[in-house]
Amino acid sequence: MNKLKVLQAWLWCESLWPCWLSHAVPLDCKDETGSLTQCASISQEKLLDRVIQHAELIYRVSEESCTLFEDMFVPYPLHALRSQGGNLCHTKPFPIPGSKNEIQQISDKWLLHSVLMLVQSWMEPLIYLQTTLNRYDDAPDALLNKTKWVSDKLLSLEQGVVVLIRKMLDEGILTSSSIFEHTLTPYNEQSPEVLESVLRDYNLLICFKKDAHKMETFLKLLKCRQSNKLSCLSY
C-alpha cells in the first residue's frame, strides 16, 4: 500500500508537468521566469504515457475507494455483490464491447472517444458521490480524500484525452461536461445510513471502478497499437 501511495504521489507530481489544453485553446504555461508562454509541446508518446498513468492511478484509487466504502458501510454478506457484478450502472450513450476480440477491433478514434465519453460521464456522479459521502457520519477521511482526488484527476484526464484526440485524430473537440443527462437523481431526503442509500453508493463506486478499468484498458490498447501494431491485434 505504501508503494501504491508513493506511486500515486509521484504520478500526481508527474501529472502536473504537462499543460493540458482545454476548450480548444492552448493553455498558457508559465516558464521559469513566471511569464506566460505557450505551453511547450509534448510528444504524442509522452502524452499518451501520461494519460495512461492517469488512468491507471484513477483505476487504482477507485478500487481503494470501493474497498474502503465496502469495509466501512456495507454489511459483510453483501460484499459478494462486488464480484457478482449484477449491478447496473447508469446508462451510457452507447454500448461498449466487452470481449477482447471486439475491443481489439475498435478503431483508435473509437477508443479515444469512448474514453472521453466515459470520463465526461463520470464527472458529475463523482461530485454527487462526494456530497453523499460527506453526509455519512463516520466516513473515513481517506475515502473522502480519494473521491475528491479522483474528481480532480478526471478533469486532467479529460484534458489529456482531448489533446490526444486533437493530435491523433486531428479533430478539434469541445469539452463539455454536460453532454449527458443527469441520470442520477440528486440526493434523496433519506438519511445516508439507510441500507438503500448505502447500496446505491456502493453500486456507484463499483461502476466507477469498472469504467475506470475500461478507460485504462482502452488507453493501453491504444498505446500498444502506437508502438507495435502487430502484436496488439489478434485475429
Binding site: L81, G85, S99, Q104, K220
Partner: protein, 603 residues
Amino acid sequence: MAYSLSLGLLYLGLLCGNGLVSARSELFTPDPSRGPHFTGCRSREQETFRCWWSAGIFQNLTEPGALRVFYQTKNALLSEWQECPDYTHTVKNECYFNKTFTHIWTSYCIQLRSVRENITYDETCFTVENIVHPDPPIGLNWTLLNVSRSGLHFDILVRWAPPPSADVQMGWMSLVYQVQYRVRNASHWEMLDLESGTQQSIYGLHTDKEYEVRVRCKMSAFDNFGEFSDSILVHVAQIPSKESTFPTMLVLIFGVIGLVILLVLLIFSQQQRLMVIFLPPIPAPKIKGIDPELLKNGKLDQLNSLLSSQDMYKPDFYHEDPWVEFIQLDLDDPPEKNESSDTQHRLGLSRSGSSHVLNFKSDDDSGRASCYDPEIPNPEDLASLLPGHSGRGDNHPLVSRSISSIPDLGVQQTSEVEETPIQTQPAVPSWVNMDFYAQVSDFTPAGGVVLSPGQLNSSPEKKKEEENEKKIQFQLVSDGAYTSENTARQLSTEVPPSPGPEQGYQTFPTQAVEGNLWNGEYLVSTSDSQIPYLLPEAPPAPILPPVSDYTVVQEVDAQHSLLLNPPSLQPAICPHSPNKHLPAMPTMPMGYLTPDLLGNLTP
C-alpha cells in the same frame, strides 16, 4: 425507475449470494453432501473461462448430458439464457467459454439445470475480471547482487517473465507479482511486497543456507492470485572464512602471550617498587625531611642547617619534662623590655631560638633556681613562647621551653592557667616541677656537655628561693646569649645588669659552626649570693666528681637548640641550699650528647 431496477437486481444478487460460488475462493472440491452444484469458474487470461460443476449426491445425474449449464449475460438488456457454448470433452463436467463468449465488464449468471426434470439446481453470477487467476510467471532466475563483507550475507536479484497467456503488452491485463522465499524445507514462507515490475531484490540471505524462491501474480485491483511458479534454489557457498578467522585467532593468541611476557618483565624489573607498593616497609623513625643517612654520615654543619630547618619540638617531651628549662639571657636588653610587646618577646625569643638551647634537667640543689619561683610572667607571653604557639616559627620549641623554665614562678600560677590559645603543651603544668637549669658538670672531650641533674621544683618554696635567686646575677659569657624577654623582665628589677632568668640556665646554642657543637654561648650565672651552680665556661671542669651527671640531648630543634633528654622524673626537691650539689642523683642521665648520638635522636 432505473434505480429501483438496479436495487432489485442488487437484492437478487444478495439472494444469489447465499448459494453463490464465490469467485474469490478456491473451489474445486465438490461438496458431496449437496445436490448438483457449481464447483467453480476460472479464467486464466481474462479471455476465456471455464466452469465446473458436480452432481453431488445425485449420482443418477452423473452421466453426461444430464446436467446442463445455461448462462446469461447481464448487460443493459436482459438477454436470454443460452446453453454452454462448449462442454469440454476431455474434462468431465466442465463448460468452456472461449474468447467469443467471454465479455469483460459484463456480469454472467450461469445455471445448472437438469433438463429432463427442468430443475435448476444451482445458479451463480460473476464478472469475468473477478474470476481471473493468472498463470504463474515464467522464467524465474536469480543473480547475485553482492556478498557482505563478513561473507555471511548476500543479496540477490530475482527476475521473471509474465505468464505468456496474459496479454500484458496490450494492457489487457495489468499484473502485479509477489515473491516468496524461505529456507529450504522450512515451514514459513517470507513474503515480499507486491511488485508491478518483473524483478525484485532479496536482501539479507545467509550464505550457508539454501533458499527456495517462487513467485505468483494477480491482476492489479483484484484479489485473485494465480498459482505459484516453480521454486528455484538459491545457494551461495560461504567463502571459506577460516582464512579470515585464522589470522585473527593467531593475532589474538600472540597478542595475549606478548602481553603476558610484558607483564612479567614489568614485574621483574620493578620488583623492588612493587614490593614497596604491595608490602610497604614499616617506616623507620626519622626526622621528617631529614635523610637518616645524612644524620649518620653527614657533616655537622649540614646537619645543623638541616636541623635548624626542622621543627623539632616535641610536646610530649615537654609534657613529661619535670624540670624547668632555662631562659636565655639577653644582656643587651634593657629592663624596659619588661614592657615590650609580645612581638619583642618573640623577637627575643627568636633570637634565642636561633641558638641551640639545651633542655636539661636541673635537679641540682645548688641551683636553687629550680625552687625559685619567679614572678609569674605574663602567661600569654609565656604561652606565646611555648613551642607550637601559633605564629611561631621554628624557633620556638626550645625557646618556649626556656620560657617554661622561667617560670616557675609562674609555674604555679600558670599551671592553673589554661593554655588555651596556645597549642598547649600539657607540659605547662609540668613547669611546676621543672628546674630552670642544670649544672654543667663537665665537658666531654668530644664536646659534649655533662650536666648535673637538676631538681624538680617544689612549689611554693620555690618562690622563696626564686626570689633569692633573683639576686643571682648571671653574666653572659659569650655573645649571642640572650634570654627571653620575660625572664629579662623578671630579673630586671633585681638583676639589672644581666636580666635574665632568676635561675640560671644554660643555653648551649649550637650554631652552625663547624665541628664543635659547643660553640656558642652559654650562660654563666654568677650569683653573688649563691654558689653558682653553673660552671660553664668553655671547657668544663673535667670531672665533676661524684655528681657528674649528664643528660642526653634528646633532640635538636630548629634553632639549633638541643633538647636534652630529661631523666626520669625526680621528686621535687627544692634545694634549700643552693650550694648543695646533687651528688646523689636519683637518676642518672642516660648519656651525653655526641654527634653520634644524634642519630639516636628521636623525632
